[in-house]
């Protein structure tokens, strides 16, 4: 297979990786975390241990993708919590009533 790196731009030292390492990492990033998914139809194994996340369609993701989802979940949870808190806080009754 030809390398998907048609060029590594000048100045990119790759943090000490060989181009073949970078090529494999990029390939992993693409094929494991992107592409069409058929619900519930991905089952993979690592070192003969099956990885099955029941109910999820994505079983493996890149660290970057996982971080993205976790951050968004955290943000959504915070926003939801604020909304719940605001809704459940009793309004002050005007004095004298």
């Amino acid at each position: 297979m030809s390398s998907p790196f048609d060029k590594v731009m000048e100045g990119a030292d790759g943090e000490g990786f060989e181009e073949s390492d970078l090529s494999l990492l990029e390939t992993l990033d693409h094929v494991l975390s992107k592409g069409l998914v058929i619900a519930g139809e991905i089952t993979i194994s690592v070192a003969d241990i099956d990885l099955i996340f029941v109910g999820l369609n994505v079983l493996v993701s890149s660290v970057e993708k996982a971080h993205e989802v976790l951050r968004e979940r955290e943000l959504a949870a915070r926003t939801g919590a604020r909304a719940t808190l605001a809704a459940s806080t009793p309004k002050k009754q005007p004095e004298g009533e």
Partner: protein
């Protein structure tokens, strides 16, 4: 016996050369027809696919082979499905798949990762910048609590400075290459090393123009490292309804 699915494309594309392409686990690759779509598949025994270097590269090799003839929509690695399930999926998603095929028609995906120079985001330089911006560095810090809050403040402001810088770089890059691409998918989540990750959908006929433009852009920002890859099948532009986020209930 299940089918391992590599990619889907419009019927009419030239067939994969079986003599040249070997699929996962050394299997042969064939086309499965479904109305106006065709899917590159292998017959595979078992219910799982091991993540091995060979299998990952085999998946990519098959999709890349198809990319030589046409622009397919690649399946994610590990898509193992019964023929009935695959046919059902293709029928249900035919319109969406054809729409995506139209979007990527004649294009390839190019990847760009931008990395900070090592010295530009270290804690000392960010701390200095935060202090310079807020002039809090001149204030007298008394007690452990104040010191903690001061450090926390600098940490938060440092992250904001990084985010602002990254957004500016993303905007600059987009401005430079927008005329050379059909679509982009840019992810700006800066940390101490990475500025942004971008996938560009580039028409094959404009690939050289894109490369030239990107190289010129690189020379304008010597303070940044650019790591480019491609051409790829359009992995970043194909998700149909089943985006990763939605599976976790994130809107």
């Amino acid at each position: 016996m299940k089918l391992y699915a590599y990619c889907v494309s419009e019927d009419g594309g030239k067939p994969v050369d079986k003599e040249l392409v070997t699929g996962v686990g050394g299997s042969s690759v064939r086309w499965l027809k479904a109305d106006e779509l065709i899917v590159a598949v292998s017959d595979v025994d078992g219910d799982t696919i091991a993540i091995t270097r060979e299998n990952v590269l085999a998946h990519e090799r098959v999709v890349r082979k198809v990319l030589e003839y046409t622009t397919p929509l690649p399946f994610r690695f590990g898509t193992l499905v019964t023929e009935a399930r695959l046919q059902s999926y293709l029928q249900a998603q035919q319109a969406a798949l054809q729409s995506k095929l139209l979007l990527v028609d004649g294009c390839v995906e190019m990847g760009v990762k931008i990395i900070w120079q090592a010295h530009s985001t270290n804690k000392e330089s960010l701390s200095e910048e935060v202090s310079a911006n807020s002039r809090v560095g001149e204030q007298l810090i008394e007690g452990a609590g104040s010191a903690f809050l001061m450090a926390k403040r600098q940490e938060v402001m440092g992250e904001k400075i990084l985010a602002d810088r990254a957004k500016e770089i993303a905007s600059w890059l987009n401005e430079r290459i927008t005329a050379s691409i059909r679509k982009d998918h840019t992810s700006v989540r800066p940390d101490e090393k990475l500025v942004l990750t971008a996938a560009h959908l580039v028409e094959r006929s404009r690939l050289e123009q894109y490369r030239r433009t990107l190289k010129q852009a690189c020379s304008e920002r010597p303070e940044l490292h650019f790591l480019t890859s491609g051409p790829w099948p359009p992995y970043s532009f194909v998700n149909v309804e089943l985006e990763f986020k939605t599976q976790f209930g994130v809107s």
